[in-house]
Symmetry: C2
Subunit: 542 residues, 2 copies
Amino acid sequence: MASQYDRDLDKNPANYQALTPLTFLARAAAVYPDHCAIRHGNLSYDYKEFYARCRQLGSALSKAGIGKNDTVSVMLANTPPMLEAHYGVAMCGAVVNTMNTRLDAKVIAFSLDHAETKVLIVDKEFSAAVKEALTLTESAKPIIIDYDDSEFEFAAEPLGNIDYEDFISAGDREFDWIKPDDEWDAISLNYTSGTTGNPKGVVYHHRGAYLLAQGNVITASMPKHPVYLWTLPMFHCNGWCFTWTLSVLGGTHICLRHVRAKAIWDAIADHKVTHLCGAPIVMSTVLNAPEDEKRQIDHAVEFFTAAAPPPEAVLAGMTDAGFNVVHLYGLTETYGPAAVNDWDSRWDELPSGEQAAKKARQGVPYAALEGLDVIDPETMQPVPRDGKTMGEVMFQGNIVMKGYLKNKATSDEAFAGGWFHSGDLGVMHEDGYIQLKDRSKDIIISGGENISSIEVEDTLFKHPAVQAAAVVAKPDEKWGETPCAFIELKPGATVSEQEIIDHCRANLARFKVPKTIVFTELPKTSTGKVQKFKLRDTAKAL
Amino acid sequence: MASQYDRDLDKNPANYQALTPLTFLARAAAVYPDHCAIRHGNLSYDYKEFYARCRQLGSALSKAGIGKNDTVSVMLANTPPMLEAHYGVAMCGAVVNTMNTRLDAKVIAFSLDHAETKVLIVDKEFSAAVKEALTLTESAKPIIIDYDDSEFEFAAEPLGNIDYEDFISAGDREFDWIKPDDEWDAISLNYTSGTTGNPKGVVYHHRGAYLLAQGNVITASMPKHPVYLWTLPMFHCNGWCFTWTLSVLGGTHICLRHVRAKAIWDAIADHKVTHLCGAPIVMSTVLNAPEDEKRQIDHAVEFFTAAAPPPEAVLAGMTDAGFNVVHLYGLTETYGPAAVNDWDSRWDELPSGEQAAKKARQGVPYAALEGLDVIDPETMQPVPRDGKTMGEVMFQGNIVMKGYLKNKATSDEAFAGGWFHSGDLGVMHEDGYIQLKDRSKDIIISGGENISSIEVEDTLFKHPAVQAAAVVAKPDEKWGETPCAFIELKPGATVSEQEIIDHCRANLARFKVPKTIVFTELPKTSTGKVQKFKLRDTAKAL
């Protein structure tokens, strides 16, 4: 006989609902109808209007025959339609595929095909690449919707004959949108820009999006009505789920089409921005702005950074400029951030170098992540908590992806042993904080000794002339490999190769000092990550 | 063929875990091991110790043969074992039944039997009532564990031969605790102290406890490491789930055995309490403390109140004393608070009377609650948003109970039509905020006109001599019913019946003015709710 706690206590519509971030928007529209939801140049929408526009999009898609599990791909900048796509697409049961706007035609074509795209919404700025991509697709024949941003001028012809505003205006502002049958249903698709092979389509579900949207609120101690500036591309892990987080709190999205220092400073000062996110390169952009573009900031601003540990010099500069920097860590496969460098206030007493060392660690799990550990992938045993033994960083929990779309073999491999294998190598410190120590291919093995490229880069960053630096392995007959440093200098700065080497010698073990120095602009992905594979090729050819 | 989004994208241990608040404690112990988790008099435990003690409790229960879906009943004050019971009991798969410590032996016996209690943990302070109850039980023969609080002296003999500290010391500090198979599994049982009939056993599940624990963080904008004072009994809806909320943030529980003004003021000043909860009677206790018991408070303190709308005079007093009062609303069936009087900062500009009127409204749903409405229970249609038309307040969502234990008929009735019927009557305002207008039996019908007892009470509260007031119907030959007011005066205050009537005439429609005034101490439940059924009997007998 079933236990008394399992009898006559079933799920019903009164006590069970599938978790979905769509309810956050419905609630925000009910509770904060006239609070500003979105600002984009001279445009602004309150929550009542934002919600109505999302419902219109869902309704119009539904009328166009789009429904459960259909893919709507979007090639959009950080503009209102991109935010609307994060809700409106799911409102008709479909899945939004947010494409990286800097991809080339070939990769665009691949993902349009692979995702079985039914509808494609394209910003005029990206028409050329998409136009070419459409000549390369094998199976995808999507309905094309053009978005012509009234705040910006682009010289391009529409790709189709449906304008975004016309399209949604045919939709119902009170559309009775479709709740997911199951919180495990897909909500979005994010292709990872891998360095080799075809991109992998990472599938998110409603449950994970709901939990990480709230997880951001809790981890970041975000209060009601934050003002959030979109320096992070929304196509990157759905903007680390902040696209949905803001609705939990009735916050204001400040759109930003191009990451430019002046626009960032102006937005922060004029709109009283309280939160923004981005790779360390965004912080450098902010700090290295010409003095006449910088503005006086009199309120607290939180900057969440990820993708690489914040270099000490950048951290110090951000603190001086009035920003509080929080270091997050995660992957596309974990909905964006899933770990946080949870700052212990006792560390405030440490000298700034030691503070930066603490801040460089990737940290501890979000409350929404059930497991985070550094594990030996052979034995699947956690490594000792000694801050030295390397292992693979692995994740377990509800904010880990559903899997890779139509890629069972890769999914199975990624989930082997009941943990998500990140591919990132790291150590576990005694206090339970993890720290990345390069992806395996980023480790330089010189004369049998492992050299962490991160450690060398961190040293380079401390030199006052260095704006950005990347270190890779250069094949060497004698040593196997040696460190080769690529350095981007600050505007107007000059420094010799020897000065850099002297600086490294003063701060690093001899064998870790770069043998080769190249002054150049670093090649970066659209999300600000340095493309090391290109540098590796360059180093090899030197 | 299944959609591409439903193929090879199944749940596995890497990407799916049952939601449970137990993981919050495990994380807090890992991330904040030496942060203070509990203070009780001279005792204090850090998170490492708190977690170890909970695991010991789970392990010891497990060794005693307690497992999945067994009931562990506790009769405990706001002390460390009560917090440990909120985690340790579930760690062996069992369900914690937190009993109201002010109940009489007969009701205790009923719930021990009904819950099929296997273990009973009893605080020495309540030994007498429990001893008597154990002579009245029909089937329950629980293992008895006595808790003798080292911080307080009580003259009572232990009921059994197992001491709490001895019991848990036999448990394993590194117990591999049991995660729920299913987040729908029961975590706790809360008997409602109904005014008629047998108490109903409200069953909570892990999913709801997880979601409301986080919901409190978000609704209350609680930052990391709050300091929470236990003025609310933890036996009341598991302390509105704040028992679990604090672990999300690594907060500090300040235990409080007895709700006394001096102890509250001292705790707030000495421990820098940031948050506390309670019925309005707790606010009155705080405000009416002798001046020499009050302390200077230089930091922000948030007071969450529920059970009755905060009276205007009390609100003003709290504001002057430096507290920010937030009005919450919910029922045992909704895990405690599920609605919040979400304060619009524009209301700060209103005169204080209008502000109090806004603050008296029960408000809008928590982000974790999917539906809250005022509905005509006959037609199941929402009432007009006019602030006038009465209907029944109904809830829908994941923070609604699993149901009533072994009470299918009552559960079915409560969930009829896919909504949880609260039994509370109210109106929906134009702006989407709900406001209670009495439970049906609290409405006074005089000469065919409905009189809201809340409205009359609110008027009485505004009189400077009134400490507490309750208004009920008194049978009347001519009018059917008339309002009868029971008034508790402030210490040392004097006022005549006529002065009260004049005050009401100046502020209320004539027919709403009480015809009878009784000066007396109000009978209250252990949670501070006025026992109106007793007053109704008195009024009838007058």
